[in-house]
């Protein structure tokens, strides 16, 4: 709170004037009053978590407090460490997809795409355009669902429980679409090496268009609900500020970086999966405070809706998975008539495909930032090493910078708008 524009924090000023009886032309800092008073100079350490409602999942934070002012935060992670990377080394390439989906459990399509793209690069495999479009459509729907849930739980942390109901209601609409195209609400394992698992079912497109028609109104409703709510505005505006230079130094990506005004978006900067054929804007913020993060997420959902619509309009005809039988399963009906197809099927299911030795790193833009997948292949049917660069893991490092010298209540807002996914952090 120290280095802020005094005009940006009227609520704090008022609050301070009430609680500390400091009116008039004192500098606004919120902390100097405490410092003057000898009794408050004591620091004490408060443990928040790992089981705490306001830390999304099992994040543990060791906070050093001075009165109600946070002086330092040490995040302690690892409570959901699942050893997924180690488990993947024991699985065939096509089974690994199931595992990587469970890392960042709100962005499962992104995890699977990042992994499949890196394996495809190692195999030098072309993905048919229809599969690329289907991936884009699903990823953008997933981005909407993820942002909605982040918003819902974030608002819940700040006491706006209506947003939780509404966010879950509309997230269920997206999950219904996933269920229709792949059979599961979460972790659908829809994206395959070489394409996608199945073509979209008849009637899916109509459902998506219905969703696209509803969603803008719903987003407007959220803005009405939150954006005109004095409590919401006062708690978000001007809190958790992080400068653009510091964010870049800390490797922060995604909406957090864009909220500081840096238009870095891998979908635009290094297009993959035919994102270059889509027209969309990259929303950015101005100050890098919590309110900008909220705004950037809201606008990103609108942009995602645009992308989904363009994807449906321009969905190319053709195969949904590569025709290379060494990588993709043959169609079901061929198994009854073709011996060759049967052999391929048997080899793929029992042994999996082999990947030539090499290593690669592929990064895509997940709802939380750069999601990179590093795969080391040693020529066998199992990856020798798989590492995910998870955006939440890196973004979490910026939490101490955001929350230092602010009140506890603001730091809760920081965690809410940081949107860390512990499954992604710990893997």
């Amino acid at each position: 709170m120290t280095d802020q524009d005094p005009l940006a924090v009227p609520y704090r000023e008022r609050e301070r004037s009430v609680t500390m009886e400091r009116m008039g032309d004192q500098p606004v800092s919120g902390t100097d009053a405490l410092l003057e008073d000898e009794r408050h100079e004591e620091l004490f350490t408060l443990n928040i978590g790992p089981h705490h409602p306001a830390t999304h999942g099992v994040l543990r934070l060791l906070t050093t407090l001075e009165g109600e002012v946070v002086r330092d935060i040490k995040p302690i992670v690892g409570y959901v460490h699942t050893g997924i990377e180690k488990s993947c080394e024991d699985q065939q390439y096509w089974k690994v997809i199931t595992f990587v989906e469970r890392m960042d459990y709100l962005a499962y399509y992104f995890n699977a795409t990042a992994y499949c793209m890196s394996v495809e690069r190692l195999l030098d495999e072309e993905v048919p355009p229809r599969a690329q479009y289907l991936r884009v459509i699903h990823m953008e729907l997933n981005r909407i669902a993820s942002h909605l849930f982040a918003l819902a739980t974030g608002a819940l942390d700040l006491g706006a429980i209506t947003m939780l109901w509404w966010g879950c209601r509309d997230r269920d609409l997206v999950l219904d679409l996933f269920e229709m195209s792949s059979g599961q609400r979460m972790h659908p394992r829809y994206i395959q090496v070489g394409g996608v698992f199945e073509d979209i079912p008849p009637g899916w497109e109509k459902k998506v268009r219905e969703f696209l028609a509803i969603m803008p109104t719903r987003l407007d409703q959220y803005e009405d609900l939150l954006d005109r709510n004095e409590i919401w505005l006062e708690r978000l505006k001007g809190t958790g500020v992080i400068s653009q230079e510091r964010a870049l130094e800390l490797g922060v990506t995604g909406p957090l970086l864009r909220a500081t005004g840096h238009p870095w978006d891998l979908r635009k900067a290094m297009p993959y999966s035919s994102y270059e054929q889509f027209e969309f804007d990259v929303p950015v913020g101005h100050f890098g405070d919590n309110y900008d993060r909220f705004k950037v997420r809201m606008d990103e959902m609108r942009e995602s809706l645009k992308i989904v619509e363009q994807g449906l309009d321009g969905l190319p005809e053709g195969r949904y998975i590569t025709s290379n039988r060494k990588v993709a399963l043959p169609p079901r009906h061929e198994l009854a008539t073709s011996m060759e197809a049967l052999i391929h099927h048997f080899k793929l299911v029992t042994e999996g495909f082999r990947v030539p030795p090499g290593e690669t790193y592929v990064a895509i833009e997940s709802p939380r930032g750069e999601l990179g997948c590093y795969v080391l292949a040693d020529g066998s049917a199992k990856p020798a090493r798989l590492h995910m660069r998870d955006p939440s893991f890196v973004n979490l490092q910026s939490l101490p910078d955001m929350a230092r010298d602010s009140l506890i209540a603001d730091f809760i807002a920081c965690v809410a708008m940081l949107d860390p996914i512990l499954g992604g952090i710990d893997r």
Binding site: H51, R185, L422, G423
Partner: protein
């Protein structure tokens, strides 16, 4: 005669006003949160009052994978809950370790605390969790032994506190 009736009334009350502790561990927690959302609405079964503190809750929904780092914490929270208490293990991971058979995951939460209802799935659909909670309600209504140590014949397994013993 009177005591059995009273028991019935008490159990009926307990079963229809379960206070779950929010305890999200991983992916399943997301589905657990959708259970309270308007479409599934667990309030129909009287279990919507999610409590953040274990001392105010009587049902622990273990939703997600329990890692070796988390297991002591879970056990501690369970010990802090007041009797009578029940545990629902949600998802393949907390029921059996699921697909993560490796160094980091406890292979089933029943290794370190008694579990009343297992809900399979990865993740289970919200309907499945609601069904599990309904099963638990049946169990509560028909069950006389309210302390879990009696229920599972586990007397004498309490932590020995040096000051007391």
């Amino acid at each position: 005669m009177l005591t059995t009736r009273l028991d019935k009334v008490l159990n009926w009350g307990r079963a229809n006003a379960i206070f779950p502790a929010t305890f999200g561990l991983a992916c399943c927690a997301i589905e657990m949160m959708s259970v309270v959302s308007p479409r599934y609405d667990i309030a129909r079964f009287g279990a919507e009052a999610m409590r953040a503190s274990p001392r105010q809750a009587d049902m622990l929904i273990l939703s997600g994978r329990v890692s070796i780092k988390m297991a002591p914490v879970v056990r501690r929270l369970y010990d802090q809950m007041l009797e009578p208490k029940w545990v629902v293990s949600m998802g393949a991971c907390s029921s059996s370790g699921g697909m993560f058979s490796n160094y980091a995951v406890v292979q089933g939460a029943d290794k370190f605390l008694p579990v009343d209802v297992y809900v399979p799935g990865c993740p289970p659909r919200p309907e499945a969790l609601i069904y599990g909670i309904m099963k638990l309600q049946d169990k509560i209504m028909g069950d006389k032994a309210m302390g879990w140590r009696e229920r599972y014949q586990a007397e004498g397994t309490g932590e020995v506190e040096p000051g007391i013993a």
